[in-house]
Subunit: 79 residues, 2 copies
DNA sequence: AATAAAAGTTTCCGATCTGGGACTTTTTTA
DNA sequence: TAAAAAAGTCCCAGATCGGAAACTTTTATT
């Protein structure tokens, strides 16, 4: 299937972190607030936003969800 | 920006694993082969494909790349 | 500029990962 | 259906995570 939803490619943990930070800011949420209504600690958010390479995927999904976002897989080179 | 690239939403580690397995199969690659040309071990691939919750994000990116795919972030509810 | 809030840093430490190797089970294919 | 290949399981050991809490630095607000 095909979609016309705006999406941002993230190539690596650095880009992921940068984007999550940007999104959190635009939602006017603090790290503390998010850590309070999710299962994700403040330190985790802090480190992920700074590009942590080894964060655990389950928690990454939780945080993405908390920020009102989704993760999509795209086949490279598809047209 | 907007795109018309086919993408598959992955909500959690289970869906991610399922999709990566499907993609690996369609590329006719074995776990062993991938582990040989990447920095990702066979056991890691095995467990991720089975939906491992705590896989580390850096290796997930490596595997996605090895399978010729990209990860995209999408704002939920955007139209 | 002073105060407060948010963000970033550091330490401690139990929990869990990851790769390697060896073995078993399942699937493929000749 | 027999052999080979792939996938899955198990144990080990060293590495790293991630929460909590206390502290420092940066940013925001008055």
């Amino acid at each position: 299937m095909s979609s016309t939803i705006p999406s941002t490619r993230v190539k690596n943990p650095e880009e992921l972190g940068r984007y999550l930070l940007k999104e959190r800011r635009s939602l006017k949420l603090t790290q503390k607030e998010i850590s309070e209504f999710t299962d994700v600690g403040r330190k985790f958010i802090l480190e992920l936003e700074k590009g942590k390479k080894n964060a655990r995927i389950g928690k990454v999904f939780e945080l993405i969800d908390a920020l009102g976002m989704e993760l999509h897989l795209v086949k490279r080179g598809d047209r």
